[in-house]
Subunit: 327 residues, 2 copies
């Protein structure tokens, strides 16, 4: 069933049917009703592919994710889905890991553009200036999550603040032997985390010895990182009192393993997994406000799609500390 079929049945031209469908131009009330009736009766659905081709707007947005396995990615996509559904957009999810050489993300973007996608949300972090530059100059609307560069629009959790507050909270509880994870990646957000903690520590005249700085990267996923972290910490001669981790999952797993090994190290997480409340002891963590992140991603992207200029190149979204039993 296509527009020309409807046109024939209504004894009008396709132009008139199109006008009715898109509510544009002049159509007599009589024909409008007739056409609408036929459309309803025949269950006619416009071919969006053809429409997209003609008007160069597909109402499709692609989200590039490293994987669908972190609660952050899931949760934000869930919120995005709600927003996009409401706005008549379709969400495409596509995978790109930085393991396939960061440079080729440029090709990924090109590939998406060739599908006629209106805009792209990049959840796979960018670390290279050069790549950021290249992506920034492509003429497809793009917004990054938690990766900021001068050349790119981005929406970010204010991890610096959260890390700072978290460290401060730990210190306020009277702890001084504080370890934390220092991921040696170059991702913006990771650096923020590190610096936030540093700031609080320095402010209170504390210093963390190097061997309490755990690199959580080598484990490919948080599960493995948790095991690595726990194994490392629990075999130390001088164990820290608290380990501030950047991810709930790492903490939850490490906490459990340390308990089993009899290491009395306390943990804090980040991300506020639902489950963090139900482990023992309930995990102190930080909530990123994923809904707000999703909203801002959408808002920025739509502004770009509409060929307007977003209010800010880099949007920061405040989160909040969630204090529970663990620290």
């Amino acid at each position: 069933m296509k527009i020309s079929d409807i046109a024939r049945m209504a004894n009008v031209s396709t132009a008139t049917v199109s006008r009715v469908i898109n509510n544009s131009g002049y159509v007599s009330e009589e024909k409008r009703q007739l056409i609408n009736k036929i459309i309803k009766e025949t269950n006619y659905q416009i071919n969006l592919q053809a429409k997209a081709l003609r008007i160069s707007k597909s109402k499709m947005i692609a989200c590039v994710v490293p994987a669908l396995d972190s609660s952050l990615v899931m949760d934000i996509n869930n919120h995005l889905l709600n927003i996009l559904n409401d706005q008549g957009y379709t969400l495409i999810i596509t995978k790109f890991t930085n393991r396939n050489s960061e440079k080729s993300i440029v090709n990924k973007v090109r590939e998406l553009a060739s599908k006629g996608i209106d805009g792209i949300i990049l959840m796979t972090g960018i670390t290279s200036d050069e790549v950021a530059q290249e992506i920034g100059t492509m003429n497809v609307p793009i917004v990054c999550l938690n990766s900021y560069f001068d050349q790119l629009y981005s929406v970010n959790s204010d991890v610096y603040q959260l890390a700072y507050q978290m460290a401060k909270h730990v210190i306020d509880q009277g702890y001084t032997k504080i370890a934390y994870c220092k991921c040696y990646g170059k991702a913006s957000i990771t650096t923020d985390f590190y610096q936030g903690i540093q700031a609080a520590l320095i402010e209170h005249g504390l210093k963390t010895p190097d061997h309490w700085l755990v690199d959580c990267q080598p484990g490919k996923n948080h599960h493995d990182s948790g095991i690595i972290t726990a194994t490392y910490l629990s075999q130390l001669e001088d164990q820290p009192e608290v380990f501030i981790s950047q991810f709930d999952r790492i903490s939850i797993i490490a906490q459990k393993i340390c308990q089993e090994k009899g290491a009395k190290i306390r943990f804090t997480g980040m991300g506020n997994l639902e489950i963090a409340e139900f482990v023992t002891p309930a995990l102190t963590t930080a909530d990123y406000d994923n809904q707000k992140l999703a909203q801002n991603l959408y808002q920025t992207l739509i502004t770009l799609i509409d060929k307007e200029t977003p209010a800010a190149k880099k949007v920061s979204v405040e989160g909040r500390l969630i204090k529970r039993e663990s620290v």
Copy 2:
């Protein structure tokens, strides 16, 4: 940059360029190389929208989910993403909750078809025969997850077996006062769960009094269901020894709350959330083999897309019990 631009630059017709791109028909080696060279130099990307319109194959598959908030949905989509990426397919995720009246899922399917989608994976459960009938007769390839009907192709976890094994395991541990969740929905998988447990119980001459059958549905999500379940169980005069739940999340939350309330009820879950291993006590659960589910979903769908007949209308995927500390 379109195909006609390439054609002009190479001094050939669009037909020849198309032949080179699609490796079809005759093209002289000389022109083939020239055209390939130009394509590379110009970074030309074929317009997939136009192509899809012409050949009526979009290489897009849609997955209809109730929400992106359960680990099952996430995990399967993650696996699907890997498979689809490899096969050159694009994954579209779209939301449909049964709260918006199950009937209108028919419209959702129609809407997707109008986007030129090649096939649909339905993760939003179907419960109505009538709807199944209607969807079954639409001429779009569709596969359901965990919802089976005579009219529809489906891939399902063998929940009956798992529930049976789980109950048997609990009984084998010496427990006799066994409660479990009886969700009053009509979803196929929910009934399977109930019947699997029943079978094991009856086999061992056990009977569960009605007030130990907890309806977990009223809480909209597992989090709430967990709270409701724990609250209910812990205030009972005669508490069961074990509660067999259909979802890890419910168990994890209920287990924690019962601990706090001093109720000594043990829990088992289902779904094998990564986190289930790290709560205290580590949760005994069942693994659905999500990867296999995803593979079968893909396989069945592709077979339908290729206009062939899948081996089975209803595919069952075996899972396995994971015995840990909780029971």
